[in-house]
């Protein structure tokens, strides 16, 4: 287990996020545990509604719904973030842990230039003057491969293309050299070529700064390109996790298999329709008893009526009763 050998940068244990509602407490994220090692790219995959965004917002301390209840432990460099006073949390946010959001258009304040917004973050965590912060913004935009950064810095978010906006967003997230970057579907809104450029940028960040990255996506193709390790989520739970090569070679959970089948082939004739997993994931309000994937699973049998724990198989962890029988139990 090389990735868990030394102290992880981030250790999440038994994280639960629930919402109070008329139908009682709905658990959207259910006893989630994972770690992120320094310099590692962890991909988090799962269909819509599986709790990926909630998990990342929980790490940032950004769940502000008054009906949300958060339990469990989130340790960053050994320090507990859950229950940390706001002032302390604020010093971590943006400086040590930064986040990129899916839609850079709505995630940037429309009335300020991108340079202003980057400088604002720089100044929140350093003693730089306005001019220095602005110079830093120009540098960052240049590093992100934006042409004419000295001009673009004075542009408003709506004046940029989607790809350029996402670069500005990434420049902002990286402005304080965070040790951990959480990217919540940063490429979903972009077309394929821009998507590839952004992925390269993320890899470059890891190479140049040694940052760890949690990369959230529902695109297995993206996972194949950049991840070191993969965590597959379904209905607020981890259903499988492990190093990317192992997981891609020998997926253990039927859900992972389904996701992998949905990657379009790189070469050769494209199939007319990609096979998709039939059905839709359950909402937190109507999760079945037992294995949450049960109703959609082709291999369902009696023992699925009990929610399976995570079984160890080689370097993978799989939450499926097929594993102990099928593999090296």
């Amino acid at each position: 287990m090389p990735e868990a050998a030394d102290e992880p940068l981030l250790r999440v244990e038994d994280l639960c996020v629930s919402f109070r509602s008329e139908r009682g407490l709905l658990r959207a994220v259910d006893r989630l545990s994972f770690t992120v090692a320094p310099g590692e790219i962890l991909a988090v995959v799962g269909e819509s509604g599986s709790g990926k965004s909630l998990t990342s917002l929980a790490v940032m301390g950004l769940i502000d719904d008054p009906n949300a209840v958060l339990t469990g432990s989130i340790r960053y460099r050994g320090r507990e973030l859950v229950g940390l006073p706001r002032r302390e949390l604020r010093k971590v946010r943006g400086d040590e842990i930064a986040m990129i959001f899916q839609d850079p258009m709505s995630a940037m304040t429309p009335v300020y230039t991108i340079g202003w917004q980057i400088a604002e973050q720089v100044q929140a965590h350093s003693r730089l003057t306005r001019r220095q912060a602005r110079a830093r913004a120009v540098d960052l935009l240049g590093e992100m491969g934006m042409p004419n950064p000295a001009i673009q810095v004075d542009r408003y978010p709506h004046q940029l293309s989607g790809g350029m906006r996402q670069r500005a967003m990434i420049a902002m997230a990286l402005s304080c050299n965070p040790s951990l970057l959480i990217a919540d579907e940063p490429t979903t809104a972009l077309d394929v070529t821009v998507q590839a450029q952004i992925l390269r940028l993320v890899e470059q960040l890891r190479r140049d700064h040694g940052s760890s990255i949690v990369f959230i996506t529902h695109d297995m193709g993206v996972v194949a390109e950049i991840a070191d390790r993969v965590m597959v989520m379904y209905a607020g739970k981890v259903v499988e996790r492990g190093p990317k090569p192992d997981l891609f070679a020998t997926p253990g959970h039927p859900y992972t298999v389904g996701l992998l089948d949905s990657i379009p082939p790189m070469a050769g004739a494209k199939p007319r329709r990609l096979p998709a997993i039939p059905g839709a994931p359950p909402s937190p309000a109507d999760r079945p008893d037992g294995c949450p994937f049960g109703p959609r699973c082709a291999h369902r049998h009696d023992s699925c009526r009990v929610d399976p724990p995570l079984y160890r198989r080689g370097r993978q962890d799989v939450s499926c009763t097929l594993v102990p029988e099928g593999a090296d139990a």
Partner: protein, 322 residues
């Protein structure tokens, strides 16, 4: 762009002047000569008055004459108080209206921002609910009623108590003559006029702040590690400003134009609203025409200013136009 706006303004004002003229002169039954001559005037007197004021000429001649004396020669006089020049009397009334309005505006902006922000930040709590009910009460209390009650309390009932003995008699005191007296005379009118707008603006600001807080960019601002104060002022409040400011511009324009009428009457302030009111009662067409022109000028002008402010506050609007 500026020229086009100016052209638009002239066009709108010309249209309004024709409309007002037709309403007061060409509607059947509205015989200004009869009003001016008095109730029991003989037909001879009536005919004389009619001739004197030019009512026996064709309508369009009357209209043009009126416009010429209003805008070109500037010597238009009142029909009722002969010799009272219309333009100087409006110029005299403007400082009164402005004094009333500016003080009230400062008050209502400051208080409604405080209320809107507090309510938005304490959303769902008792504080929020209490503030919103208070705002609703403010919106639904008629201005003249508030004014009358205030007068009753401060002018007669409790005037001799230590608490209200400072309140001067009704009426305006020019700022240049006696600043303290000006302030004392206007405090209660300011509050009276502001109450409605405090309620209105407080509610509007609360709603747009709550909307702003649901925006993704607020989450980004927090993710950047900014303090809550900065998130509020630089992000939530700043983006809510567009609605607030345009509302303010339009209301201010309408009030300068004579919308302060009720407050002026209740407190005996001889402002533009007061003037308009008297003119309407006497069907004093030259004064009506002049005040309506003055009012429509401010309404149209404030519309233009709001448009400019809109562009200044929101780069998306500004750049779309350029």
């Amino acid at each position: 762009m500026l020229l086009r706006r100016l052209g638009e303004m002239v066009f709108v004002m010309a249209g309004i002047s024709v409309l007002v003229f037709l309403i007061f002169f060409a509607t059947p039954g509205a015989d200004p000569a009869a009003r001016i001559a008095g109730r029991n005037a003989s037909p001879d007197v009536l005919a004389a008055v009619r001739h004197d004021f030019g009512f026996d000429q064709p309508l369009w001649v009357q209209y043009l004459l009126l416009m010429k004396r209003l805008f070109v020669t500037g010597d238009l006089t009142s029909f009722v108080n002969r010799g009272q020049k219309v333009i100087p009397s409006i110029l005299q009334a403007v400082p009164v209206t402005l004094s009333l309005l500016i003080g009230a505006a400062v008050l209502w902006v400051a208080v409604s921002v405080a209320i809107g922000v507090t309510a938005a930040l304490t959303r769902g709590t008792i504080v929020d609910r209490a503030l919103m009910i208070l705002g609703l009460v403010g919106v639904s209390m008629p201005v003249f009623w508030v004014g009358e009650v205030a007068n009753l309390i401060t002018q007669s009932r409790y005037h001799d108590s230590w608490f209200f003995s400072w309140v001067p008699a009704l009426g305006y005191v020019p700022l240049t003559q006696d600043p303290v007296g000006w302030f004392k005379a206007l405090v209660i009118p300011w509050v009276t006029l502001a109450i409605l707008y405090i309620g209105l603006y407080g509610r509007v600001l609360r709603a747009s702040l709550i909307e702003a807080y649901h925006e993704d960019f607020i989450r980004t601002a927090r993710a950047k590690g900014l303090g809550e104060g900065r998130v509020l002022v630089r992000h939530a409040l700043r983006t809510s400003l567009v609605t607030f400011v345009s509302l303010f511009g339009l209301d201010f324009g309408a009030l300068v134009g004579g919308g302060t009428l009720l407050t002026e009457i209740v407190f005996g302030l001889q402002g533009v609203g007061f003037l308009t009111f008297n003119a309407l009662q006497n069907l004093d067409l030259p004064v009506i025409m002049a005040t309506v022109m003055y009012a429509s000028f401010f309404v149209v002008a404030s519309n233009a200013v709001v448009d400019l402010l809109y562009a200044a506050l929101d780069p998306r609007v500004r750049l779309a136009r350029a």
